[in-house]
């Protein structure tokens, strides 16, 4: 074995080619060819040229952080560049030594092993110097750490609540106080995903109701969650804050550019984790005021009186919308469910004369089986509408009508 190796390494010309050859020339060449072929193949076959950068979101084949629109995100970017430079310098020095040694200090070029095996001076040096380097790194980052935690003096405070699998936004303080809405992935996008036919620049990032904030104002985001841990993240702002059930945490940003910015839930939160995007629209002060006015008017108009008694047709029509936006993700638009998700079509609970079992299931969910609790997330009118819709759709023809008041009664149970 040793002899064979010595023979193989016995030739005396020292070139780079020779080095490669010693390290297994055939294997290298084969593996390189395979990898080059594979990479090119991928680029040709799958490089969808229609996909381009999404402003405020990911860039096509992006190599770096998304463009920063807050001071903090900018500092993070600079810190990262600094770290890259330092690490590259250390990399070049350390591996410069290693590869020099690999080329020169090999038996095949006749190098005889030296006999040193310790040097206190050198060992102290390479302990102390890295120590100083990392302390300096830490010192540079400290300012940003402190800045990121300073949520005082906010112009606008918004509570972001993570639900499985949507975001709820409540404007707690500042211009727009009192506004509240739910932000969900656009249903069409979820279907595209299911069908395996993704399309569009904002694939999986398009939402029904984006969070809207004014430009150049300090916005404090309070996070919490209703069920499991989620994480509210917008890379362009340099913000990522876990939303923890039972606890409140906060973070802040001050966007300095009007635009639309995107993020995705960044803590595994169950089945639909990939499908709860965040979209923030940053508007000019005037546009923001106009938006707030419009929302307030719409809110007043849409406010439901849970005591109102509905006819079946308008309630079913409303129920269809509620169902498709909230229930169809799991129970499917045709009510047949999928896998562990129970079908609603022909379900004995749905077709039962007594609607209370269904109302209670919707209100409290069947959490271990994956059905979330909807109490507080949808209004009583919406819940009544969705249940009425399921009772009178597909093969279900109960003719039953569930009034918001029925839901209110069950909420008390």
């Amino acid at each position: 074995m040793q002899l064979a190796l010595a023979r193989q390494e016995g030739s005396n010309y020292v070139t780079t080619m020779m080095t490669i050859r010693k390290l297994g020339y055939g294997a290298t060449r084969a593996a390189l060819a395979v990898s080059a072929f594979a990479t090119t193949g991928v680029a040709l076959a799958f490089g969808d040229k229609s996909v381009t950068d999404l402003p405020g979101g990911p860039r096509a084949n992006g190599l770096d952080f998304q463009p920063a629109v807050t001071e903090v995100a900018d500092q993070i970017k600079m810190l990262h560049y600094g770290m890259l430079i330092v690490c590259t310098a250390i990399f070049v020095i350390v591996f410069g030594f290693m590869f020099y040694s690999i080329v020169k200090h090999r038996k095949s070029v006749g190098h005889k092993a030296a006999n040193f095996h310790e040097s206190t001076a050198v060992e102290i040096a390479w302990t102390v110097v890295p120590f100083i380097i990392v302390i300096l790194m830490g010192a540079f980052a400290t300012r940003t750490v402190v800045a990121m935690k300073d949520t005082t003096g906010a112009d606008l405070t918004i509570k972001a609540t993570g639900y499985q699998w949507k975001w709820g936004y409540d404007y707690v303080k500042g211009e727009g106080e009192g506004l509240a809405f739910i932000s969900t992935l656009d249903t069409a996008q979820r279907n595209l995903s299911e069908e395996g036919k993704p399309a569009g620049n904002d694939y999986l990032l398009k939402v029904d109701n984006p969070l809207v904030v004014p430009v150049n104002k300090k916005v404090r985001i309070i996070t919490t969650a209703d069920d499991v841990i989620h994480s509210w993240s917008v890379p362009a702002f340099g913000v990522k804050q876990d939303a923890i059930p039972g606890f409140v945490r906060d973070t802040w940003f001050l966007a300095n550019k009007v635009g639309t910015y995107y993020g995705m839930c960044s803590e595994l939160c169950g089945k639909e984790h990939a499908f709860m995007p965040i979209r923030v629209d940053v508007l000019s002060a005037a546009d923001y005021t106009a938006w707030v006015d419009k929302q307030k008017k719409a809110l007043a108009a849409a406010a439901d009186d849970p005591k109102k008694v509905w006819d079946i047709a308008p309630l079913e029509a409303r129920g269809e919308k509620v169902y498709l936006a909230n229930c169809a993700v799991c129970h499917k638009p045709d009510g047949k469910g999928a896998g562990p998700v129970k079908p609603l079509d022909a379900s004995p609970v749905v077709n039962d004369k007594d609607p209370n079992a269904q109302i209670l299931t919707v209100l409290h969910g069947r959490v271990p089986q994956g059905m979330p609790a909807w109490q507080g997330k949808l209004s009583e009118t919406d819940i009544a509408a969705a249940i009425t819709y399921t009772k009178n759709s597909w093969s279900n023809h109960t003719g039953q009508l569930v009034q918001p008041a029925d839901v209110v009664a069950d909420e008390a149970k």
Binding site: G26, A31, A45, A60, Q75, M83, R106, A113, A114, Q241
Partner: protein, 545 residues
């Protein structure tokens, strides 16, 4: 100890006989089920770990299959989450940890001149506990609701929503934890009590040193994990509210407890690899290990520091600013002793007389790629950057650089280095080199693009992703397939021939520069080595009588 001490003396009586078969030690399946010989148990551990490695690898390929293109082509997101969770659990608890225990079983008694491990029967139990644990873990795919899907970190309260498989997973981890603790006690007692006269602590081979430290880490943290998952279990079934916010519990508390285990666990998975590389590099540089003493101190410092950095996994949970600063500085400090180790390896290579057989290739590959993982670790240690990168593919890239290119490459180095001693036959150098280069290249094709994905903002543990991430994901998937096939090649063309005894007979010391007691016995190593304590020379690397 008393139960074990008579063991070598018993064999002493009939030392002149053919002692491979003269004691009536069990043969056939009994040899393995009732195994008490450290070499047999080491083999069992290694085979078990490699099997689990293939299972976990298959899951990884299924993950990469789904992520090859955007859109859901193959699996529903729930099943995808089960794959990521089980891939992590199986690789950590089923593959890496048992594999290193396998190395420890084989090598520690031989390296310190002992007859066997201290507690031979406990050794048997600690291996065989792994089998029901693995069956329970892998079998959970077939339970109602499928396997656990809360991520390998098993964060509450998502774990409280899981089906019955979560309980199976928790019990499996209890068993694996018990197995690890028994294995660790065995290793510590063996090292401290059974060294041959003259083998002082500061003359022990580095692999033995790193395992001694690892074993203490395991004993310290496995009960912490057991506590965390037991609390999860009682939250699930007995109406406690340790982590359940609905009852006033604190989900972040789970993370603190978990990572108090989890961070030392990271070093549990890498320190033995440091030990292997510290033995291979001097052997092929034909030069003593540079800075042996500082190596020992650096390893100990890493172990101690690993207990005060856990919350760097949790910057985004919203810690107070002082907490963030403390954990940031402490984390950065860990890079100092780790750097010392890398520098020591380079200084060992420096002005040596190197050859590059497969063990050395893997060791140099380890140093190179592990250091890249170290750099990204340094970048992640910086709290503001980490908050941007937390739970993105950058983190996935980082920890695969240290765990695959670190632990796994270290183990491959150890395999090629010691397999001639285990099997008595040499591996094929061409195949070893092909295995190395193919692994190195495909590894980088798989995981290097993930840095870019993470920087660009792709979260981890997602079954589908925006179109902008498509190309790098496709590249990573192809790399993963290549990497996986390379390991099948290793099994079929390196391991299987070695187990069948095919190949040139291995000399007692196949490596010119290798030192240590394992090279003082024939290849393959006899059934019992060092039945009576050997007499050692001054450096404790040679037997002199």
């Amino acid at each position: 100890m008393s139960a074990v001490l008579p063991h070598p003396i018993d064999h002493g009586h009939d030392h002149d006989h053919d002692h491979d078969h003269s004691h009536g030690h069990p043969t056939g399946w009994r040899r393995w089920v009732f195994a008490t010989n450290h070499k047999d148990i080491g083999t069992l551990y290694l085979l078990f770990a490699f099997t689990m490695f293939l299972v976990g690898g298959t899951l990884a390929l299924l993950i990469r299959l789904e992520l090859f293109q955007p859109g859901l082509q193959f699996f529903n997101p729930e099943l995808f989450n089960q794959f990521t969770t089980m891939h992590g659990l199986i690789m950590v608890f089923g593959a890496i940890m048992p594999a290193f225990v396998g190395f420890a079983n084989w090598m520690i008694p031989m390296q310190i001149g002992a007859a066997d491990m201290a507690f031979a029967r406990m050794n048997n139990l600690s291996f065989w506990l792994l089998i029901p644990a693995a069956l329970m873990l892998v079998g959970s795919f077939f339970l109602p609701g499928g396997a656990p899907a809360a991520g390998w970190t098993l964060y509450a309260p998502l774990t409280l929503q899981m089906g019955p498989s979560m309980d199976g997973g928790i019990f499996a981890m209890h068993l694996m934890g018990a197995s690890s603790i028994m294995g660790s006690i065995n290793i510590i007692v063996t090292i401290l009590n059974m060294r041959a006269p003259g083998m002082t602590l500061m003359k022990m081979p580095m692999f033995v040193w790193t395992w001694l430290i690892t074993a203490y880490l395991l004993i310290a943290v496995m009960p912490v994990l057991a506590g965390a998952i037991t609390m999860t279990l009682t939250d699930r079934h007995f109406h406690t509210s340790f982590f359940n916010p609905a009852g006033g519990g604190d989900p972040v508390m789970y993370q603190h407890v978990f990572w108090f285990f989890g961070h030392p666990e990271v070093y549990i998975m890498i320190l033995p690899a440091f030990g292997i590389v510290s033995q291979v590099v001097p052997a092929f540089a034909r030069k003593r290990l540079f800075g042996y003493t500082s190596m020992v101190y650096a390893t100990s410092s890493i172990a101690i520091l690993s207990f005060i950095v856990w919350a760097h996994h949790m910057y985004t949970t919203g810690m107070p600013v002082t907490g963030q600063l403390f954990f940031m500085y402490a984390t950065m400090l860990i890079s100092v002793p780790t750097g010392v180790k890398v520098f020591n390896w380079l200084a060992t290579m420096w002005r040596g007389s190197m050859t590059f057989e497969a063990p050395m290739l893997w060791a140099v590959g380890f140093i190179f790629v592990f250091t890249m993982g170290g750099f990204t670790g340094l970048i992640c240690s910086m709290a503001p950057i980490d908050i941007q990168l937390q739970d993105t593919y950058y983190v996935v890239a980082h920890f695969h650089y240290v765990l695959v290119a670190g632990s796994l490459f270290g183990m491959f180095s150890g395999y090629y280095y010691w397999a001639p001693k285990w099997t008595g036959v040499m591996y094929s150098e061409t195949r070893g080199k092909f295995h190395f280069w193919s692994s190195l290249i495909f590894f980088n094709i798989t995981f290097f693009p993930m840095h870019f994905l993470g920087l660009a903002g792709m979260p981890r543990r997602v079954a589908d992703y925006p179109m902008q991430f498509a190309d790098f994901n496709a590249v990573a998937s192809i790399g993963a397939l290549g990497f996986g096939l390379t390991q099948v090649y290793f099994l079929l063309f390196v391991v299987v021939p070695a187990m069948r005894g095919k190949g040139e007979p291995a000399p007692q010391r196949p490596w010119e520069g290798a030192e240590g007691l394992e090279w003082e016995v024939p290849s393959p190593a006899p059934w019992h080595t060092y039945e009576t304590p050997p007499k050692l020379d001054r450096t404790a690397t040679k037997v002199i009588g």
